[in-house]
Symmetry: C2
Subunit: 250 residues, 2 copies
């Protein structure tokens, strides 16, 4: 069944109001009508199955039939701090990372980041990433849309570290030198409900200086297997491993 | 250091001969010269560091300096049987799947596969996928290039099942119904050196009939976490989980 996110104030006890682009999607793309059923989430704790009861060009009203419990959120909160990569790789990272359960994405400017985002480009990019996250969250039946944080510097990123229970730094040299057990150890030490920040470098990885600064600030350097992963693959590996560890290894 | 695969017969005890597109890559893209070092693998068991000793437009000779032991292959052989997906998704699956350690890819025509490959298109596509696998294997420091198998039917796929130690069928309904522990159980039962076939449906998943046929032929239906993954994300999840299980959980 098709799924849509709505704002909290658009969901009352009995009804859901759908406005904006989703109206077009429901009527023109999905060609749905009065009587058809959809699933709506308020991006917090309510997910409901409901039935379209009225339609107009700019508004759809749906009556709530039952409360659902998708229970599709990861038991730990995972934020991906991604060194700004080239091209549209960040879009792939946000789309796939949302499917795999990430709670948030935090792009940062690393020394080896080649792309530059000025103010105008940044706000356009962040808006587009937010849209990709919403669509991927609907498609993958998430209960919450991941947060797209503002782009930040390494200094700002370092200040964020203390607000997470565990900070993991993806480090290629660690992979090469066979320090493989760190990720397993870090996940085993974390309890359900905890928060993890995963820091990933851009193409070419992080510099020795960035490594020093981040590990001194508390990040644990972890290899993600012995193969060299592209920057856009590292977060997908981490999220899949976290899902396997917390959701499937029971 | 830049890495290249060469055919077995191009690597003697003392020297490596590089021919074809890689000559262009070494001379024009990387702008390397006599005296520069590269890493070469024979796609079997030999990986060497070597130094370019002579160059011509169609051939480079490099002297072997030392034998390396990258040890970057997964301890289990994983083949991805992918229901033919739309667009260029198979290219993403092969590129990322190679980085994540897959041994082979086996595209099959599922009931819900929309794309059709005729003979001509298939040979062109398979050639392109082989090139992507080679480049991704070089980039990720693999010792072997994954095999791209010919496209097959479900009937042919079913016949292949008995040649693997374990066959896993990614099944969305299983994910929804919370049968989460199957993948963990299946991997725990498999020993190092074993072979796994992971069967993934196309967009829209596999049909009830395909499910019945494949599970009756021995495939174990497994959920890959409670979220609904797009077809191109499922193999990346499975490979990451397998790497985490066999390489990092020690």
């Amino acid at each position: 069944m098709q799924r849509y996110f709505v704002a909290k104030e658009q969901m009352t006890e009995q009804q859901v109001q759908i406005i904006g682009d989703d109206v077009k999607h429901i009527l023109r793309v999905m060609r749905m009508d009065v009587g058809d059923e959809i699933i709506c989430s308020d991006n917090d704790s309510r997910t409901v199955r409901c039935c379209i009861s009225s339609k107009a060009d700019n508004e759809i009203i749906a009556d709530i039939l039952e409360k659902l419990r998708p229970d599709t959120e990861l038991p730990v909160q995972v934020t991906i701090a991604q060194g700004l990569p080239k091209g549209d790789k960040l879009e792939l990272i946000v789309q796939k990372g949302t499917e795999l359960g990430a709670s948030g994405f935090l792009p940062y400017v690393a020394v080896r980041s080649i792309v530059k985002w000025d103010q105008k480009k940044a706000s356009k990019k962040l808006e587009r990433l937010g849209k990709i996250a919403k669509e991927a969250a609907e498609q993958s039946y998430r209960e919450r849309i991941p947060v797209i944080h503002n782009i930040c510097s390494l200094a700002q990123l370092k200040k964020e570290l203390s607000s997470y229970d565990t900070v993991i730094l993806a480090y290629e040299e660690t992979a090469k030198s066979r320090e493989q057990a760190q990720l397993g150890k870090a996940l085993t030490a974390l309890s359900s409900g905890g928060s993890i920040l995963i820091i990933i470098g851009p193409e070419g990885g992080i510099t020795e200086d960035e490594f020093k600064q981040l590990t001194e600030a508390g990040a644990i350097a972890c290899g993600f297997g012995p193969r060299i992963l592209r920057t856009e693959t590292a977060s997908l590996y981490a999220l899949s491993a976290i899902s396997y560890h917390f959701e499937l290894m029971r």
